[in-house]
Amino acid sequence: MINYPNDRDLVEQASACGIPEPVLVRDIVRLVEVLNLKRKDFFTKRSVLAGSMALRCFDSPRFTVYDADFSTSADAVHPPTSLKGLLAYQDDALEITPASLVPHDDAGTAWKSAPIAYNPVFTSLVPNPADREFKADVSFRGVMLDGFERELVVPYELELWDEPPVVFIMDPHETVAEKTLGWCAHQQLKHYADLAYIALVSRDGEGQLIKLNNAKLRTTLADKLEAMRKLQSNIYEPFPHVDALIDKLEEIPIFPVLQWQRIMYVRQARDRFTQEFLVRAVRELLVPRFR
């Protein structure tokens, strides 16, 4: 599936990126999982890689520690529990064993497999069994916008592949909507950090990685909010209208020290992605797009 790195290269790259070796290994395992799903034809324009791993395809420097997010529909995968068979993977160097899929909302529109256990035979750097797990969150609500194909990008130099593989990822307009809801309703800083990154790389000019249409951005957010208010009315009660979300986005957030330390950027990006930088990006670049 990939060219598995050896331990010396893993140690070197983990050090270069400033991340613990087990986090790097888990990242590689999740990439293999993505490629496994690609080989099993999971990905289409309506069945996509989502969340922070999808943002990697736009060079996001933030390392997701544990999750892999996918968005699909009952048309693509039915029943949801059958996804367990798709997630399972084995080769000589790696074995991935998912837990059964269970719903994690009352309507059965979102499922998860946790833990997905793996045995990374290719490395000895993960001796702790607790470090040999990740989680897959799979939305079955159906994407609002068609996904599109994009090369997988990794922020480390391990020559995992000769030619970068291509997978269908969530449309960034929809990613912005999901991250905005995630930040406003669940107050998790990782979503705010990702919004700031999207705001930065969607600026016009050289270095633009994501093209965003402001009207589409607002419409998608409004549609997503309406859908989620139907599914989880209690959680979204403080946000009766899209403008309530945008007002919330404009507030200057509090960054408790320990929460901030959990946001894991690759070493090369840490000096740049300060709290002040993120706040300015969201308030000055992203919020005006919605107004």
């Binding site: 010396r8 087990p22 520690v65 989680k135 107050q187 509090i254 408790p256 320990l258 929460q259």
Partner: protein, 308 residues
């Protein structure tokens, strides 16, 4: 020209008959570590049995140090070694954080892993930490408060006798590797929740603590035991415990265990680290807890836990 001089970064290991006998004895015992002086007598007996009729001359410590120099074992600390797996080049390939902790604290009296280490071990959070957190008794002769171990910084908390676990259900003896007879002491799920609430600064912050409580509420937890541990952990922790139990919908547990807890005249910050520094915070009249965390944040974390 010897291979080793061409590839100096590659380790060529040689083992004397004595070293081979030591490695075999450790493997026979289904262990990955050696502890001196505790293992001296047992190991000498095992090695001499394998070397018979020859005797092992001198002490084991210099022999193990020689093995460490030749990278057939890794030295973790004085008298503490782990066996080097074939082809390994780093002690981090040889053992996990939990084994390192037990190597250091196991001979020092009672200890247990808790706080963020136990939150992670109980799968209540997906935070990855390069720090480990353990508690020892106040009376312990162990003086360090933090130690650098391979790949991890160990933080040690001293607990008074009154706050030390009293029930078997508060601690677990956990096998470190499925195929080895080595164990670590860890806080039970219930004990972990209260420990984390009492010291959020050792538990990745209040958001993590609150999220972990919310995740636990979707699991099988003995909430009466949580209440009992919280009640014993001091007045402030008792009040925080009662408040969180009420917030998560366990009003009946609060009534059973905190019936006499009066809120009047008491002000206990929910987050003792006061990480949000709110200008104004509501006070819960039932428990006396001052909710110094934004209410929408509390609600969001609970909802996020419910969603996944």
């Amino acid at each position: 020209m010897r291979y080793n001089s061409i590839m100096p970064d590659r380790i060529v290991r040689t083992a004397s008959p004595q070293a081979s006998a030591i490695l075999e004895a450790v493997a026979d015992a289904k262990r990955r570590s050696l502890r001196l002086p505790e293992d001296e007598e047992w190991l000498r007996e095992q090695v001499e049995e394998k070397l018979a009729p020859r005797k092992l001359e001198g002490k084991l410590a210099p022999l193990l140090q020689g093995m460490a120099d030749r990278k057939s074992v890794y030295r973790v600390r004085r008298g503490r070694y782990v066996v080097a797996p074939r082809g390994s080049f780093s002690v981090k390939q040889a053992a996990s954080t939990e084994l390192f902790v037990d190597l250091v604290l196991g001979a020092q009296g009672d200890y247990y892993l808790s706080y963020l280490s136990a939150l992670v071990a109980h799968r209540l959070t997906d935070v990855h930490s390069t720090a480990a957190y353990a508690a020892i008794r106040q009376s312990s002769g162990f003086r360090d408060t933090h130690l650098e171990l391979p790949g991890v910084e160990l933080h040690i908390v001293r607990l008074s006798e009154g706050r030390w676990p009293t029930e078997e259900r508060e601690l677990e003896r956990v096998r470190i590797f499925p195929d080895a007879k080595e164990f670590v002491w860890r806080a039970s799920l219930e004990r972990t929740l209260v420990d984390a609430l009492s010291r959020p600064q050792l538990s990745a912050g209040f958001e993590t603590v609150m999220s972990c409580w919310a995740v636990a509420s979707k699991r099988e937890v003995n909430w009466d035991l949580v209440a009992a541990i919280g009640e014993r952990a001091g007045d402030s922790t008792a009040r925080r415990t009662a408040f969180l139990l009420g917030l998560l919908g366990y009003g009946d547990v609060v009534e059973r265990n905190f019936a006499t807890l009066g809120g009047r005249g008491r002000t206990v910050p929910l987050d003792r680290t006061n990480s949000y520094r709110l200008a104004h915070a509501e006070r819960d009249s039932r428990t006396g807890v001052v909710v110094n965390v934004p209410v929408d944040h509390l609600r969001g974390w609970v909802a996020a836990a419910a969603n996944g």
